[in-house]
Symmetry: C2
């Protein structure tokens, strides 16, 4: 079996027709959902690209892998999906984005360079890179945000898009009538078509790269196909730019109650630039149709991929996973972007098709178990026929759910966010170590704990599914708050760093030191079998005891 | 300044005359205490050799470095004292024991081998090895406990001690009148002199190695001089074997109340082989005089080292640290060995001499601040003139205390123990991940939390300094228990793995992505300085918008 692990960037859980979107029709996502299981309660371990992805790829919580925000390097030696899969005979390839920052200092310290396989895997988050393109070729007075080379920009140049950075000035920009560039960074331009042939835009380009990969693969593979879209800049080529209009833009999911006595961290977020932008109706009305167009394009290209698998007779031996690294507030809760723990940000699509007959019983169903993004790594290891290294991987295989079983499961999902690099940290005057947020969600109640001395936030999603009413504002609900804190504390004390010694190793080697002569409990040797001590009962070869009684002076 | 970082193995905090021992006179320990500061409340992060030492060497809690028990490998890439000191221009050498197990699998995965400096440092816990000898050359039917080479055994052989393993049959054994070997593993033999010339025994041998090192050193150095003694086997050469007698053996610090309704983990420990042995008076009466003799020999050899520093005029530029990796119950609390959190096990000697004039004000004083073993690494970095990397090191520099200041300090000390490899885990029927104990001590109350669903233990050291009365047996003290749990939970949520990004880096780079063109908040560009966006306002080089409106099929 092969694994096609497809990730979209910043795709909200509810912007798919199978998830109930009223206007956006995504027949190809729906097609995979009909073939597999759609997990309706899937949470990322951090609502931010880099940290979330490091959790997907390592199968470990953010506090365990340590790469807590975008471009915080993943420490050398952290095990990844690629390591585990190769251990069970499956290749693991990257096609697209990881947002992984290599631990250059750590690599240098160990003498590792990316010019050989070992170093390259350390630098690429354990993947072998078919093509790496993080898809964010932003550029400003201090240079490029991403200092790597851009295969996509190279492709555009090869196709005649003449510019230093055609990603910015063609793929993510429109063009004015006077031939001025209409940057996709500006929301005012989101309704313009990107100045690029649709087939040259990012999603079709990466889809073609994926097909190239699939067509040449011979060994069992896992391919992480990782699209930058529908991540901003919000601009999409024709014909997608005008498939949706302001009529398709729902009212913002927000409530005045949210602005009354808000949690200080939430308040700081509501006051940031991005939130202010998305609080404007004209921004939502420009951006959301473009966002929907980007998703529609993703869906069409997914159809291309699925058709290719069918045409090449690979659908029955390919596991397909569709997910995202986090959502997008789009103005809901008075916010833009992601970062906090409302469903719009922290909940993601998670659709898995397992081609094996054991999965037939569950095809086309949904599952509302609390799934975490770290569950994919052990799922893939199990799918590859390996033993899950549960002293390293903190997630749990989803295979039982895919096969219609009902395993014992977690009682709560955890997510984390480190905002030490955000302006909100400055605003709140916090030390970086105090800029950490934790979500605990038990399926009904959702608690946000904030380090730094703040009160928590609490939502009851049964009575308040839209998460408008922060119950921790008042004095009630102390018992629920305590119960969720108990979960958080249980989780915080977990054993996450004993990665060099497996649980089965421990059980196997328990007591073995006795048979290697470590016997600090014997009075006279009668406590152990004769053969353990008889070597001491042989003849001494001489006596060396000093007759003099003065100590040595070295 | 150089740093002489001396560790004794299994040296109890109270077996020194400066710490009040009634019979054991240790003038050389006392001499350093008079020159420096003796910390009377110093706690190790794990009361077991390997895990404790990994905390000393990494400056990090056990849950942070992950090497939770003896011979659990320290993961490749974990930073150590040696790394930090070399970063500020100080060499860092090992002379003796570390009990560090190299992460061989992790090294192989990264292509590292110990035959070059980078690999050797990974295999030696970040030290450059002047001489590595872990000092426990136990041997049984399954072979040697320690599979490395033993420089000490090689030394003994060179001196004519004819045996396969002269460590076992000479240095740690006596000889019977009939020339049978009287193994030091058997407590019945603890009153015999070891069958070795005193100068050839382990402590003088390592002292001479230390002097060899000091005499050749040219660059600033930290030397970790790490003696195996007074660790078992409890046997010592003449004249130390009969310096102390049963008259010098104190009554065991134990109480019948401890055996009434004991905590299940404590109960399991009281029932183990080692505890049973030390519950016998004849064991204590044989062992404790030998243990005292071993310490007396350590003290004499410390005198040799101190004299050498004076004679070579190095006392005024050498920081001296005397400590231990944990204690020894010696029958107290009905226990032998270590592992739990009574003072006899978890509290260690900690004496530091800082030669600089700023330390004059504090010479000869004691300090009762809650010190943790992880404080040494940052102390050394500061002594070496470096900046403490506080995103990696979890301890705090002790220099302010050495200079007579009263810094803001921690409110509680933490220690941990993983007993998953002990027979008690089997007895209690626990999964390895549940075999974890945590101590929280605030200077008065000491809480032990046990994973696996057990109640805690609680002692009030003001009213019960001997720790006989476990207050968590009853229903009282809920408030104290909760307070200490709050500390534990605060600690558990600490940021420990973000080791690739420093706090100052975060503060410096905050908001920098804006100037690299990441601007997901602009409506029309008026939100940012003109120069950030003007490149988008240049002329487009052409229009590529498709007139056709069919999507690509990749």
């Amino acid at each position: 079996m092969n694994i096609l692990f497809i990730m979209y960037d910043q795709l909200r859980f509810d912007y798919l027709s199978c998830a109930g979107h009223p206007h956006l029709h995504t027949p190809n996502f729906d097609r995979v959902a009909e073939m597999g299981v759609r997990f309706t309660e899937a949470y990322v371990q951090a609502p931010i690209c880099g940290a979330s992805r490091m959790s997907f790829y390592t199968g470990r919580y953010v506090s365990s892998h340590g790469a807590a925000w975008n471009n915080f390097p993943l420490r050398v030696g952290e095990h990844t999906m690629g390591d585990h899969l190769r251990n069970c005979g499956m290749e693991c390839w990257l096609i697209g984005k990881t947002h992984m920052k290599a631990d250059v200092a750590g690599m240098e310290r160990l003498g590792l360079t990316p010019d050989n396989t070992i170093g390259a895997r350390q630098a690429e988050c354990g993947f072998d890179a078919w093509i790496r393109d993080d898809g964010l070729w932003a550029q400003g007075p201090d240079g490029f945000y991403d200092e790597k080379r851009s295969p996509y920009n190279e492709y555009l140049k090869s196709q005649g898009y003449e510019a230093e950075n055609p990603w910015a000035t063609f793929a993510n920009a429109g063009v004015e009538e006077d031939m001025d560039i209409a940057s996709g960074w500006m929301f005012a331009n989101a309704d313009k078509p990107a100045n690029i042939k649709e087939r040259d835009s990012e999603t079709p380009w990466l889809t073609r790269k994926t097909i190239e990969f699939i067509d040449q693969a011979t060994n069992p593979w896992c391919a992480h196909v990782s699209f930058i879209k529908p991540h901003w800049p919000y601009i999409v080529p024709a014909p997608y730019h005008n498939m949706y209009s302001t009529n398709h833009v729902p009212a913002a999911t927000r409530h005045e109650a949210e602005q009354a006595n808000p949690h200080p961290v939430y308040e700081a977020y509501m006051g940031n630039k991005i939130a202010h932008a998305f609080q404007r109706d004209e921004v939502r009305q420009k951006v959301i149709p473009a966002y929907m167009g980007l998703i529609k394009q993703c869906d069409d290209q997914l159809g291309v991929l699925l058709d290719h698998l069918e045409q090449t007779d690979q659908m029955q031996n390919t596991m397909i996973v569709l997910t995202s690294d986090h959502g997008d507030y789009l103005g809901d809760h008075w916010l833009g972007e992601k970062d906090l723990f409302h469903a719009q940000s922290v909940k993601v699509p998670m659709i898995i098709y397992d081609p094996r007959p054991q999965a037939d019983v569950a095809r086309g169903t949904t599952c509302d178990a609390l799934v975490e993004s770290i569950d994919l790594a052990p799922t893939f290891v199990e799918a590859a026929g390996g033993e899950v290294p549960d002293h390293i991987l903190e997630g749990r295989s989803l295979i039982p759910w895919l096969h219609g079983q009902t395993p014992d499961w977690r009682s709560y999902a955890i997510s984390e966010f480190d905002y030490s690099s955000n302006p909100q940290a400055t605003k709140l005057g916090l030390h970086p170590k105090d800029c950490r947020l934790f979500m605990v969600f038990d399926g009904r109640y959702k608690l946000m704990h904030a380090e730094g001395g703040f009160r928590p936030m609490l939502f009851d999603l049964h009575t308040d599914p839209e998460e408008f009413h922060d119950l921790a504002k008042g004095d009630d609900h102390a018992a629920e708050i305590q119960r969720l804190y108990d979960y958080l504390h249980e989780w915080a004390l977990r054993c996450s760093q004993r990665i060099t010694k497996s649980n089965s190793d421990i059980e196997t080697t328990r007591g073995k030191s006795l048979k290697r002569g470590v016997l600090p409990f014997m009075y006279d040797g009668s406590e152990v079998p004769l053969e353990w001590t008889q070597k001491y009962r042989g003849q001494a070869t001489g006596s060396y005891i000093d007759d003099e009684t003065t100590p040595s002076d070295s």
